[in-house]
């Protein structure tokens, strides 16, 4: 039977709707739900060949779940694993410290050579040699902390790279700094010291050696300690204690889903439509929440990064739905794959879950979700709310978003003035902020310049007005302000503003561009409602 290309069978629509309703369910969890989900997770562990940990913790929101999982991972990770994870880093830090110490030793050696040679040449030296010597010691010490700091803030994990590159830099800094500082500082320091000690000639070699050891030695030791501490605190990936449970479950799931999709009938596919429909309706929401949770845990606590526990959220929504659809339609899906898919879908009913060999954290069903749907067909759903949080959880965690873009909470509450908008580093947030207050209001506040006006064809007596940004901050667009053809239900005739390319100078041409209509046709418009 040939189906018309736009039509989708009603049963597919119903399946997608049912699946999405279950995925975006907002009703609070009942005890029966919890038991069902725990059972399903236990079956998933059994299917994947993992021992059941026996401990299930329930969290009220995804953020709480993530922090709880990290905290539990820290508590339940055995000490031996932690030491084993830290060992490469301890080794790395020690190597780093030794590298810094090596720089210091090289510096000391160079200084020694530079100074000892003239001393060896005997008494017939110009009188300013000891000023030079003091200045050189000071100059030699100054680059060492700078060098340590520079190397510490570098991201390079390769110590050998550091050595080669850093050594060259050290030498450059030494000679450059040494020569200039010796001239400037040497005179001052030498005159002071000369008066204090009462020198009349070059200090003896033993004195020089002692002073160099006493000053440079501790400096090098301190540099080594700083190096080790800094590298330790920088939290390199080697410090992470990863757990195999999530990876194992992920692999089993991928194998099962691939097996299911290869069992799909050769005639193309309702299951592809199921997958894209479900993904369109749920994946965007899940991604927004995930980004928000990541943002919330990025700064501050280090445990979530050091003890990462992977979670299962909506990432597999579309593929699970497609596999379930295939199994229900009688496609030859292998039995174990079908069972795993079924168990996994049941396990994800309560929200995100974090599997681990020693515990499971479940939770995160939202208590409120505000969505908008865009696009043809089943469409795409995303979080959207302009007067409050777009998603809320029972423990008070809130995610704010407009058109699927996460935004800071105060943007929705108080609105921003244009300086705050321009200052924000994230361009998506800036766009969302402008759209929240509306382009017409934004160009008024930001002081955009009027380029041209023209009568609006088909809409007398109103005019079209074209504006551009005089500060050239947004220089690839201009804004066309127009008056609606009909009043809204309250009787008010609204004006609204939309963006057009900056290459167009005539407002009527800009309006015609919006509809992709030839300008001369647009000018003949006689009626606009």
């Amino acid at each position: 039977m040939v189906r018309p290309s736009d039509a989708r069978p009603a049963e597919l629509d119903e399946f997608v709707r049912g699946w999405t309703d279950r995925a975006l369910d907002r009703t609070p969890l009942t005890d029966a739900d919890r038991v069902a989900v725990t059972d399903a997770i236990r079956r998933c562990y059994a299917d994947a060949g993992l021992p059941w940990p026996g401990r299930v913790f329930w969290a009220p929101s995804p953020l709480a779940g993530r922090l709880l999982a990290a905290d539990l991972a820290r508590r339940y990770t055995p000490v031996t694993t932690r030491i084993r994870a830290k060992a490469p880093t301890m080794g790395g830090a020690l190597v780093y410290g030794c590298a810094v110490g090596l720089y210091g030793a090289v510096l000391a050696g160079l200084l020694w050579l530079w100074l000892a040679l003239p001393l060896e040449l005997g008494e017939a030296m110009p009188a300013y040699w000891h000023e030079l010597w003091i200045g050189a010691v000071v100059a030699g010490l100054l680059p060492v902390p700078v060098l340590v700091w520079q190397l510490a803030v570098e991201d390079s994990a390769d110590v050998v790279d550091d050595l080669v590159f850093g050594l060259g830099r050290a030498m450059a800094m030494l000679f450059f700094a040494g020569v200039w500082l010796a001239v400037v500082v040497g005179q001052i320091a030498a005159s002071r010291m000369g008066a204090f000690v009462g020198w009349s000639g070059l200090p003896p070699q033993a004195w020089v050696a002692t002073l160099l050891t006493v000053t440079l030695g501790p400096a090098v030791a301190v540099a080594m300690v700083i190096g080790i501490v800094v590298k330790w605190r920088a939290d390199p990936p080697a410090m992470r204690c990863a757990d195999p449970a999530h990876d194992r479950l992920d692999r089993c799931l991928t194998v099962a889903l691939t097996a299911a999709s290869t069992a799909a009938p050769v005639v193309p596919g309702a299951h592809g439509q199921v997958r894209s429909a479900v993904d369109g309706l749920t994946a965007g929401i899940d991604r927004s929440v995930e980004l928000a949770v990541q943002e919330a845990t990025r700064s501050g606590r280090r445990w979530p990064r050091r003890y990462p526990v992977g979670h299962f959220g909506g990432q597999y929504g579309g593929r699970l739905a497609a596999a379930t659809w295939l199994a229900a339609r009688g496609a030859p899906v292998p039995a174990d794959a079908a069972v795993f898919v079924r168990d996994f879908a049941a396990a994800s009913r309560a929200g995100w879950w974090w599997p681990h060999t020693r515990f499971v954290v479940v939770g995160g069903r939202a208590s409120a979700l505000h969505l908008e749907r865009v696009g043809a067909g089943a469409g795409i759903q995303r979080l959207h709310r302009t007067d409050g949080p777009a998603a809320e959880w029972p423990d008070g965690y809130r995610v704010y978003a407009v058109h699927g873009t996460g935004i800071p909470a105060d943007l929705v509450g108080d609105g921003w003035d244009v300086e705050e908008i321009h200052r924000h580093p994230n361009s998506e947030v800036r766009r969302a902020a402008i759209e929240l207050i509306g382009w017409a209001e934004y160009i008024r506040r930001a002081g955009w310049r009027l380029v041209a006006t023209a009568p609006d064809p088909g809409n007398p007596p109103h005019e079209l007005a074209l504006y551009e940004d005089p500060s050239r901050r947004l220089r690839d667009v201009r804004v066309l302000v127009m008056t609606n053809g009909s009043p809204d239900r309250s009787g008010a005739l609204r004006r609204h503003a939309e963006t057009v390319p900056d290459a167009i100078d005539d407002p009527v041409a800009a309006a015609a561009w919006q509809y992709d209509c030839p300008v001369e046709v647009y000018r003949k418009m006689r009626r606009r409602t």
Partner: protein, 151 residues
């Protein structure tokens, strides 16, 4: 000839206050616009090969407003059995579809909220949506992207 009352009754909405309910909806053959949609007359030789469907009694839902849920409906006019529609929703671009109104017949484009109704006379037309230019907030991104305007 439809009045506002009878035209809007086809889609089951009441007449907004700013329309005189019993005034007739003018039937035009030139370009006209209804909110975010524009009816653009085409020359027959410029229209590509299309698959036409007759407009059914319940009308064609031309586009469903995304933010508001308001819909533009296309209906046959009085005594206009030959009005045909070819949906282009699946192709890229702004064109929602083509409308063919045979001589002596008419069609009605009706909106469920504030825009009222537009009468369309004989001819072949293209119905286009609106787009906007997406500003590139970073100066180094030179891609010029456009976006469909949501009603």
């Amino acid at each position: 000839m439809y009045t506002y009352r009878t035209a809007l009754a086809l889609v089951g909405v009441s007449v907004p206050a700013h329309f005189v309910a019993d005034a007739e909806v003018p039937i035009l053959t030139g370009p006209q616009a209804q909110g975010d949609l524009m009816v653009i007359p085409e020359r027959p030789e410029e229209v590509p090969e299309l698959i036409w469907q007759p407009v059914p009694d319940e009308g064609v839902q031309v586009v469903r407003g995304e933010a508001t849920g308001n819909t533009h409906w296309l209906h046959r006019g009085f005594d206009s059995p030959g009005v045909r529609w070819s949906s282009q929703v699946r192709t890229r671009g702004l064109t929602l579809g083509y409308l063919d109104v045979p001589p002596g017949q008419s069609a009605q484009l009706i909106h469920t909220d504030e825009h009222g109704a537009n009468g369309i006379g004989p001819g072949i037309y293209r119905i286009n949506r609106k787009r906007e230019q997406v500003p590139a907030f970073e100066p180094q991104r030179a891609d010029r992207r456009t976006r469909l305007i949501a009603d």
